[in-house]
């Protein structure tokens, strides 16, 4: 039987890259939201 050289798209799992997940988690850790008299401040703390 002839070999199939095409990729089977079903075999690919659709998952985000680890870097993306890591970025999101780091962003979450760095983001600080402060509210003062109806004003919300967002700060990225490194």
């Amino acid at each position: 039987m002839a070999k199939l050289y095409s990729k089977n798209p079903k075999s690919e799992k659709l998952n985000p890259k680890d870097e993306t997940i890591s970025f999101i988690l780091n962003y979450s850790k760095a983001l600080k939201v402060t509210t003062y008299k109806n004003i919300t401040f967002e700060a990225i703390l490194n």
């Binding site: 985000p16 993306t20 997940i21 970025f23 999101i24 988690l25 979450s28 983001l31 939201v33 919300t40």
Partner: protein, 194 residues
Amino acid sequence: MQNSQTSDALLVSNYIKGDEYALELLIKKHKQSIYGFIFSKVRDRDVTEDIFQDAFIKVIKTLKKGKYNEEGKFLPWVMRISHNLVIDYFRKNNRMPKFDNSGDFNIFSVISDGALNAEKVIIKEQVQKDVRRLIEELPEDQKEVLMMRMYQDMSFKEISERTGVSINTALGRMRYALINMRKVIEKHNIILTN
């Protein structure tokens, strides 16, 4: 299903209280369905990564600002955010269409500028100058025929009338002019290509 929703609600609540690990669990739990949903719309891995990331940035901001209403619908809510970002992406792309130049077809073969670039203009001028110098080296009778033929675009009949020689003589002089020029070109290894 009920358990899964309760668990989401608990994780969201823990995250709002400051438990960063709860967000990690939420992402791990739903990443495949959200990523798959976005990819099914945009069909591009890089764009999917970007939208996935932007969706969670919105999620994080909303949760941290305390604007999220817990109704046991975390996943549908994230899906809705992703869906809106996908729409934004297509809107932006429609305004500024991109041409994917990754295939066999090269758009620049169609829209290329016919005009010579600065370098080629200089080379062309140089080649023309070299040819002029070669012509100057030819015997006067050959030079006369060649100039009339090539630069004044005259026919051999007109050349013969102007110079008072037969057409065959004019043809012969033209032939010798070209032969002589080729000899000089070969002898001095002159490159006359653009």
